[in-house]
Subunit: 457 residues, 2 copies
Amino acid sequence: MIKPRTPPGVLELLPREQVAFQRMLDTIRRTFEAYGFLPVETPVFELSDVLLTKTGGETERQVYFAQSTGALEKGDPGRPEMALRFDLTVPLARYVAEHEHDLAFPFRRYQMQRVYRGERAQRGRFREFYQCDIDVIGKDTLSPRFEAEVPAVINAVFEALGIGEFTIQLNHRKLLRGFFAGQGISDEAQPLVLREIDKLDKRGEEAVRATLVGEAFGLAPEVADRLLEFSRVRSSGHDDALAKLDALGAGTPLFEEGRDELRALLGMLNAMGVPGSRYAINLSIARGLDYYTGMVYETTLDAHPEIGSICSGGRYDDLASHYTKSKLPGVGISIGLTRLFWQLREAGLVGTAESTVHALVVLLDDEGLDHALALSQRLRAAGLNVETQMEPRKLAKQLQYADRAGIRFVVIRGGDEAARGVVAVKDLRRGEQFEVAEDELGSTLRVELEQLRAHGA
Amino acid sequence: MIKPRTPPGVLELLPREQVAFQRMLDTIRRTFEAYGFLPVETPVFELSDVLLTKTGGETERQVYFAQSTGALEKGDPGRPEMALRFDLTVPLARYVAEHEHDLAFPFRRYQMQRVYRGERAQRGRFREFYQCDIDVIGKDTLSPRFEAEVPAVINAVFEALGIGEFTIQLNHRKLLRGFFAGQGISDEAQPLVLREIDKLDKRGEEAVRATLVGEAFGLAPEVADRLLEFSRVRSSGHDDALAKLDALGAGTPLFEEGRDELRALLGMLNAMGVPGSRYAINLSIARGLDYYTGMVYETTLDAHPEIGSICSGGRYDDLASHYTKSKLPGVGISIGLTRLFWQLREAGLVGTAESTVHALVVLLDDEGLDHALALSQRLRAAGLNVETQMEPRKLAKQLQYADRAGIRFVVIRGGDEAARGVVAVKDLRRGEQFEVAEDELGSTLRVELEQLRAHGA
């Protein structure tokens, strides 16, 4: 006998948790599709030489390799031929480069699949987790206006998920780099300085300031102060964001370009009706220093800042330089849904959902079987998800089963009901019982469920 | 520069093919849920000792193992700690045994995930493919009535998929074994004889008969004839199925048990309204000789018998004997969707779907941007999937893009339309253009799309 168990670092859910998770996936997908993104799925494994174009980084140390029994038996030395994807960005780059001539650009794709990282096993860290990504990829060029659409998608996703108020934090790399250049910080020093400033939350302002004016950087105290002041800028609402932008000291041409783009973006968010309370300029957001070149985004839950960013991304200039000579600029975001779900569950914000099964049709005696089967089919034709009790059991047992399984409606037809052409319905959610003509059962239960949906449950 | 390419043996789809594939996945899932099955997902990798409880079989030779860079560097000899699932049945067994005390029985689950097999690379053979499974698992016992529900689910799935008429082939292991025993064939010889009879399609009746009466089996010619006659039994329609059953020579108690169960099943299919044309008794169906103990199912497309079974399964007596002492009988089926999709595409039955994007809102000049953004949002609020053109381009270019992307509606608002409060809509599917008041655009397009859906497109 072998003890049944999952490998460490995976999140396996019980059915009713899986229903809750699946609803989040569906909501995200529906929203991505509403904004015109197309589905893409890629294989879980890629050829190792294709996946691992950069070597030696931390990511590669976490990569899982896959090999068949045959390859193992041969005992080939060296790196296995295939590796599991560790994110959805490298597969996207490979996909776009491989299918370049079959795609319409700007190419808008969403992808919601699991990725794999050999992380140290630790509470809340996962070796297998869902990422839900969107990207818009241009060929040769991509208008900065696509960077404005992204916060509108983020807003729509988290509004639809209904997990509490949130704020989309906005920054712009041109603004950052332009400002830094204006302070006399060289192109080479900028990423290092930024990396220090990115530690503000962890180390505190005093410590970061000390490092900046210390030997390693040797910034003048007033320059360090201006950087810190700059990184402290936060806006509150649409008008304040514009005002804060205007109030920033004039900088280099790059800085002005970033400011213009950010201003245009705020205007577009307004045109799209994104509430001003949902986004804020936050000039301390750094993210992916070598990668992003325009807007960068992070998203935080207002009531749960400890969770950190729940949706991040930005604008990049070249997606697939390892695979194609074509220039493929893009903008995208990623939601790490497994980790988010786990954190929301820890915080008590999501949990066990009602079953996907709407109704249990009970069976009181064998004579009722054919009728129960036919009634179940009629309910399914009316759009309900139905389980039929296949063997007669005591009603109390069947109610207990429905309750445990999270099934809302229990449909009962005893001799008395049959004689009157009605069925009795127990609504386990409301703790109510009612009778309805058999012919009207499907439409009645549909109405109840639609009301539920209208109330966002 | 690295050539972007996928590993051999995977099916990667272009976006509009992915839309078609996703629609099939959604349809299958919706039907599984309608019949009261609950979602389960398991990790792509399982611990090797848990996954590979039986060793030496063909399956194990095809297993992919996964190991992290760290494990590779250590150069541990022996089998890697983790392996990719090669079907959804072993993970189900592990899942049910592991979570036994948290599940309500009968446990009805569906699972739609990819599985991995190191098959020889060959056209139409895949190393990564989707399986879509349902199973009902009982604790200690499971009524044979659940075996009657399965063909109703198969019928609903393939009716909803709309890929042509199909027939669910039914057989019963008790009928088979009972009949064989009645012919004096020992329990030990039965699987071997069955394996021969299973080759009827490939080898032809003469060759199989020769083997059965030959040295290896040594059956009397009249016994061989009776077996072949038995295996030729096919029914056509509900009444014929009952008649064919009745006409079978009386057999052993086991045979009669099988006949009674099959008769009851036919009655339940009738009660559920499954058309008699959709199922047939086929006493040559063998399948999983060591595994199945009751009903077995195969499903074939009437117009494409060369595709073989597109949905198969059966009743088994013990799901998880490697993991638990509890007896867990079950019944289930599996659809290998990747292979089916590939075959349907080869046969020209599925292909490129219209985009998930319903409408492209065009942009004729920069002044129109805010309005285009706002209009797009209003259409999304009306339930449409919308892409907004972000930079003005010539109308012809935008129409060409929509056409190439498979977007049905193109929404145009020039100065003339704006002055009159209307928009022009090009319906690329119908090749028509019409005008509609801006306020009514969302509801008008919704109606068009609903009509489409009502016509099953």
